[in-house]
Amino acid sequence: MDLYEHQGKELLKEYGLETLPGKVATTPKEARDAAEEIGGTVAVKAQVLTGGRGKAGGIKVVDNPEDAEKAAEQILGMDIKGHTVGRVYIEGGAEIETEMYLSVMVDRERKQSLLLFSTEGGVDIEEVAETKPEAIVRLYVDPLVGLQPFQIREVTFASGLSGDAAKGFGKTLQNLYKAFEGADASLVEINPLVVTKGGEVLTLDSKVTVDNSSLYRHKDIADLHDAAAADPQEQRAQEAGLQYVKLDGDVGILGNGAGLVMSTLDVVAQAGGEPANFCDVGGGADAEQISTALDIVTSNENVRSVFFNIFGGITRGDEVAKGLLAAIERTNIEHPIVVRLDGTNAEEGRRILSENTPANVHTEEMMLDAARSAVKLAKKGGN
C-alpha cells in the first residue's frame, strides 16, 4: 500500500523525523486558510500516488493565501498520469542549503534492508545511479541486529556534513530505519532530504510503501487507504477479497492462480488481443466468488469478450464447471465467454458445460485455442 506524501510525513514524524509545517486541503478555500495559518511563502503540492507531479505542474510555490487558493484551484482535479488530484498539501517554506537523497527498502536478493544515500538529492536516483554511481552510498542492514552506529557514521561521513547538521543527520538515519521497520514498510524514500541554512535536517518529500501482508497489525495505516481515488473495479475486487488489476484492453480475463492468470494475459496478447484485466478467482469452485469476479470483470465497459481459464487441481473440473454455470446464471451477462478447462476431471467438466451452457459460452481444451477464440470474439463484438 502506497501512502500520500502527507501521510508518509505524518508517519515519519511519529518516529522523530523533522518536517516543515503543513496541512491537507481538498478545496481551494481550505488551501487559502491553510496558507494563512502557516504564513509566508508556501508550496501547494498535488497529492497523488505516482511520480512526476512537479513536471506535470502539480507543485506551485506562492507568496500569499490568495495565490494559494488560485494554485489549489488549478491543481485540484488535475490529471497526473491517470490519477485525478483530490487533495493538495500546503507546506511552509525553508531556506535550503543542500538537497540529498535517502531511502531504505527491502532488497529481495540479499534478503536484507538496503539503505541508499546520495548527496545528489532532488533528482531521480536511477539517473544518479547511471550517470554518477560513485555518488551513491549503499549499505545492507541485517534485520537480526538492526542499523549499527558504525553504519550511521559511514553515511554521515559520506554526507560531508559537520556540527549540528551531522548530528541531526545521524538522528534522521536512525529514526528512518526505525520507521521502516516499525511500520513494516517495503520502501521509505526521502527525496529530497534537505539541510537548511540553520543546520536543520528536514524531510521535504516522502514516498512510503507499506507491506500489504502486514496491514493486519497496522490498522491505523490500513485506514489511510483512499477508496475514492481507487479504480472502482479494483476497489470492489479488493472488498470482495479478489486479486484484480485493471488494464487497457477488451478481453476480460479470469483464472485460478496468479501465475496461470499472468500467463493467460500473455497468450491473449500473443494471439493478437489486448487483456482488459488480471483477475485471480482463487482455487475453489464457489459459485458466489466466481459470479462476483465475473460481475467485476464485465462491469468494465471496454470488455467485449471474457476468457475464463481454469486448471482443475484439487478442486475438480466437474465441480468448477457446476460452479461456473451457477455463477453465469446469477449474473445474466451477455458477453461471449470462452471457458478453457483442463486438469483433474476436465473431460467431465467440459461435458457438463457443453450440455448445459447458454449460447454465449464456448468451451475449449487448449489454452492457446481458447485465447485465439476469445480475441476473435472481442473483435467481432467491437464491430
Binding site: E109, G257, G343
Partner: protein, 291 residues
C-alpha cells in the same frame, strides 16, 4: 532419486487441526506420505484424522516420532514463529504453505536461516512433491507421474499446467518444488537447480519464473556456468504493467530488470531454452531429452 522429500521423509504438520491443515494432511496421507505427527498448541494428546498424534510443541513431536521434515499451514501472523520453532528442532526441510506472511518477518527468518543447516521452501508456495515417494504439498498428486524431469516454480497453478502437459506426453518427474511467490522466500531457484543437477535421476530441469526481482537472471548465470543437464524455462507476465502487484506479493514490475522480457532475454542469452507459453514447455523438454 528425488530431492528434498522422498521415502525417508517423516512428516510433521504444523497447524494440523486448522481447515487447510486437516484437509491437506488427509490428501498427503492418501498419496502415500508418511505423516508421523501434527502440532497444534493446546491440542497435544489428541489424535487427528488418519490416526496422526498431535503434540503441543514441535520439540515434543520430534522427540516422540523422529520427524525430519515439516509442512506449515498456520495463519500468517503466526507463520514466522512456526518456522522458527521448526528450525529450533533442527528439522531438515520446512515447507511453509501460508500466504500473506509479512515481509519483515520473512527477512528475520531468512537471515536466521543462514545460521542453520536447513532448507526452507516458501512461504506462499504449493510445497514439494516427489511422485510415488512423498507429497509435502497442496499439489494434486493425480497429475504427476514418476520420471526424470525436475520442476521448480514460483507459481502453483502454472506448475500444475506444465506438469500435466509433461505427464500427458509421457514425461515423468523426479520432484516438483514450488518456491513461492513472495518477495522474500527461503530458497531461490539456484539452490533447487543445484539439487537437481546433483540428483543422478534428474535428466532435465524446468524453471518457471515470473515478473519481479531478478532471481531468474541470477539463475541464468548459474545454469550457464554450473549446470550440465538441460534446463527449459518459462517466464509469466509479459503484459504486466509497472507498479502493479499481479496476485503474488512478489510479482511486481519495479524497474528494467524485473520484467518478463528482461528475464527471458537473459535466459536466451545464456543459451537456455525459454518457452513463449506454458504449452511450449513440454515440447521443449521432449526435445531436450531427445524424445
Amino acid at each position: 532419486m528425488a530431492i528434498l522429500v522422498d521415502d525417508n521423509t517423516k512428516l510433521l504438520v504444523q497447524g494440523i487441526t486448522g481447515r487447510e491443515g486437516a484437509f491437506h494432511t488427509g490428501r498427503m496421507i492418501e498419496s502415500g506420505t508418511n505423516v508421523v505427527a501434527g502440532v497444534t498448541p493446546g491440542k497435544g494428546g489428541q489424535t487427528a484424522d488418519g490416526g496422526v498424534p498431535i503434540f503441543n510443541t514441535v520439540d515434543e513431536a520430534v522427540k516422540e516420532t523422529g520427524a525430519n521434515a515439516s509442512v506449515i499451514f498456520v495463519p500468517p501472523p503466526f507463520a514466522a514463529d512456526a518456522i522458527f520453532e521448526s528450525l529450533g528442532s533442527d528439522l531438515g526441510t520446512v515447507c511453509c504453505i501460508t500466504e500473506g506472511v509479512p515481509v519483515h518477518d520473512m527477512m528475520r527468518v531468512a537471515n536466521y536461516m543462514r545460521l542453520k543447516d536447513a532448507t526452507l521452501i516458501g512461504p506462499n508456495c504449493p510445497g514439494v512433491l516427489s511422485p510415488g515417494k512423498a507429497n509435502v504439498s497442496i499439489m494434486p498428486q493425480s497429475i504427476f507421474t514418476p520420471g526424470n524431469v525436475g520442476v521448480v516454480s514460483r507459481s502453483g497453478t502454472l506448475t500444475y499446467q506444465v506438469v500435466n502437459e509433461l505427464t500427458q506426453m509421457g514425461i515423468g518427474q523426479t520432484s516438483a518444488v514450488g518456491i513461492g511467490g513472495d518477495p522474500i522466500i527461503g530458497t531461490d531457484f539456484i539452490e533447487i537447480l543445484s539439487l537437481f543437477e546433483a540428483d543422478p535421476d534428474t535428466e532435465c530441469a524446468v524453471m518457471i519464473g515470473e515478473i519481479g526481482g531478478n532471481a531468474e537472471q541470477r539463475a541464468a548465470e548459474y545454469i550457464q556456468s554450473e549446470m550440465t543437464i538441460p534446463v527449459v524455462a518459462y517466464i509469466a507476465g509479459f503484459t504486466a504493467p509497472e507498479g502493479k502487484t499481479m496476485g503474488h506479493a512478489g510479482a511486481i514490475v519495479s524497474g528494467g530488470d524485473t520484467t518478463a522480457d528482461a528475464k527471458s532475454n537473459a535466459l536466451r542469452k545464456a543459451g537456455i531454452r525459454a518457452a513463449e507459453n506454458p504449452s511450449e514447455v513440454a515440447s521443449l523438454v521432449a526435445d531436450a531429452l531427445g524424445k
